[in-house]
């Protein structure tokens, strides 16, 4: 059996590990132009803010893949011939496969600007982007960060830590409009307003960038201009799957998959940021481009790829939005449905605890559908479990809410992985 895994980051690496575990004798070929380096892309923000030394980011990938017996091809996939079961690489080589995993992730959403400076906009996705930004960082200089999501947040923090003044330009009326509720969004906005070196500009977009001396001159939608040394955009991501478009898989914003994570093309599975899997809360395919989803999908896809005959691997329960980021000395966390755009008509249970911690549980039709909080991380894990298992709010004992620090966990001894355990 020959498995080909295209894309070797969070999803692809997880799949390689589980393919090997499920099928010790199989042949695994990993395809990725950046196959030689092993790192986790979210950590680039920890390097930018100086918390992690640059040399600690990237390791040589050879021991990892050798240990798993994965044969590496440092090339990009450019086409898929599903009838002949061949993957076509940019080197011109064709690779035969029995089962293939598409784990090519996502690319930063490009900002469309007028002007000759448009190509100078940086993005923040991988080690090459980090290097490009670091080359432009100038202590005492001015940077514009476009986008008030989590990546915009991390960029702002990092650039300020590097001594730059940051203009954080957000299209929405408040930062984190999509990620958290109004309370936490406003809290974060207020912290940014107090923060030295940050100028938060809400309801603002950039329309034009022109080269201006050593830097750039940005024109905003109200006609005003800003001169900056560096522009970095964090405006979300776009799934990357153009290379297999010819094979005709069903797609929406990302690759669509069934509950075994197979695309509509026979024997072609998909996992990670490239996939638009069914969202547990919204009950329809949605992009939830986060690390834990990618790793879990890599595992579930691998176990289904390796399942023999009529046997099937575990069903994929669905993806979920969740995030935790350390910020302003606390953790800001969210899970499930918290965006005020979707939570209209929902009920809320809000608890504030000592030292400014905050927890807001979102309930729809008696079922927990989301939670958002500040410095309440461990309890958010239980609530994430509650969201995944569609727990009824009536199952949350009053004393849990009264004293979340000391209550026994909501999940008790229920195993979380029902049915997904293999050969432990």
């Amino acid at each position: 059996m020959r498995y080909v895994v295209v894309g070797l980051h969070a999803a692809g690496r997880s799949a390689c590990q589980w393919l090997r575990r499920a099928d010790p004798a199989c042949e695994i070929v990993g395809v990725d132009p950046s196959a030689g380096s092993l790192y986790a892309r979210p950590l680039i923000s920890y390097v930018l803010d100086g918390e992690l030394p640059e040399h600690a980011l990237v390791k040589d990938s050879a021991p990892f893949f050798e240990n798993l017996g994965v044969q590496l091809k440092r090339a990009a996939a450019v086409g898929l011939d599903a009838n002949r079961k061949r993957l076509i690489l940019d080197s011109g080589e064709e690779l035969a496969y029995d089962k293939l995993l598409a784990a090519t992730g996502s690319a930063p959403r490009r900002v469309r600007l007028e002007g000759d400076g448009a190509d100078h906009v940086c993005y923040f996705r991988g080690q090459a982007d980090l290097a490009r930004i670091l080359a432009h960082v100038k202590s005492g200089g001015v940077a514009a960060v476009l986008g008030g999501g989590l990546v915009g947040f991390k960029l702002t923090h990092g650039l300020v830590a590097r001594g730059m003044k940051v203009k954080l330009m957000v299209t929405s009326p408040r930062p984190l409009a999509l990620n958290v509720d109004e309370y936490v969004g406003s809290w974060a906005g207020a912290r940014f307003k107090e923060m030295d070196g940050v100028h938060l500009m809400t309801s603002t977009s950039v329309v034009r960038a022109d080269v201006h001396g050593q830097g750039l001159r940005l024109t905003l939608d109200d006609g005003s201009t800003e001169d900056v040394d560096l522009v970095v955009a964090g405006k979300g991501v776009v799934p990357r799957f153009a290379w297999l478009a010819e094979a005709g898989p069903e797609t929406d914003q990302g690759l669509l998959v069934d509950n075994r994570l197979m695309t509509s093309v026979e024997d072609v599975y998909a996992a990670g940021d490239a996939v638009q899997a069914s969202d547990i809360v919204h009950e329809r395919p949605l992009l939830n481009a986060i690390w834990p989803n990618a790793v879990e999908q890599g595992r579930v896809a691998a176990l289904n790829m390796a399942a023999k005959g009529p046997a099937q691997g575990p069903a994929y329960a669905g993806s979920i939005a969740m995030n935790a980021i350390p910020i302003f000395g606390t953790h800001m966390v969210s899970v499930g449905m918290v965006n005020p755009r979707y939570t209209e008509g929902c009920e809320f249970i809000t608890t504030t605890c000592h030292r400014g911690s905050y927890l807001n549980i979102v309930i729809r039709d008696g079922v927990i559908v989301g939670a958002v909080g500040l410095s309440a991380v461990p309890r958010l894990g239980e609530l994430a479990h509650a969201v995944r298992t569609r727990m009824k709010v009536s199952r949350i004992p009053a004393r849990w809410l009264k004293n979340p620090r000391n209550a026994a966990p909501l999940a008790g001894n229920t195993p979380w992985y029902k049915g997904s355990r293999v050969g432990a």
């Binding site: 935790a324 894990g381 004393r399 026994a408 966990p409 999940a411 001894n413 355990r421």
Partner: protein, 181 residues
């Protein structure tokens, strides 16, 4: 392969908290209670006594710790790969040198088994993830996990899950599964 693990029987717990104290002691620098409490970075317990309610509505202590799941959701969420399976077989162990304290693992853990504290093994970081490591250091020396050694009521046992289930499947299932916070 089966590994010995800490088996929790909440119905036998009286909430004395000896397990938590001995756990912190075992994870301190000096390993002695009298000196551990004066260490500059205070060791923290990795087992916690929560308050649960039994099916009769009576408040009951609930010893809560990492279950070392496999596959483990915390490990799948850990971006720097700090939750390792290769330090002690059968255990998921946080490598403080790799942990960045981002919070993703606790978000993924349904059991409230991961906390964040200043850790003596990563003094340069303000916080790292702290959770049960099955006392793999002690086990190497032929000792059993500190919490089990401390437990006088049999609420914590060290053994094979399968054998334990054989001993009293019904007893265990009833006690463990009907527990709510």
């Amino acid at each position: 392969m089966q590994h010995k693990t800490v088996i929790v029987r909440p119905e036998l717990c009286v909430g004395c908290m000896q397990c938590a104290i001995r756990c912190a002691q075992a994870h301190s620098a000096t390993k002695e209670l009298a000196t551990a409490v004066f260490e500059p970075v205070l060791a923290k317990p990795r087992i916690h006594i929560g308050v649960g309610v039994n099916p009769q509505g009576v408040l009951k202590p609930f010893p809560n710790k990492c279950r070392h799941c496999d596959p483990a959701p915390c490990q799948e969420a850990c971006m720097p790969g700090a939750i390792r399976s290769d330090i002690a077989e059968g255990s998921k162990v946080v490598d403080p040198a790799l942990c960045i304290g981002c919070g993703m693992c606790a978000m993924a853990c349904p059991y409230y088994a991961i906390r964040y504290h200043h850790d003596l093994h990563a003094p340069e970081r303000t916080i790292t993830a702290i959770k049960c490591d099955n006392c793999h250091d002690r086990q190497k020396k032929g000792q059993i996990p500190a919490c089990v050694e401390a437990c006088k009521t049999g609420a914590l046992e060290f053994g094979y899950v399968n054998e334990h289930i054989k001993k009293g499947a019904g007893r265990l299932a009833n006690a463990a599964w009907s527990m709510q916070s």
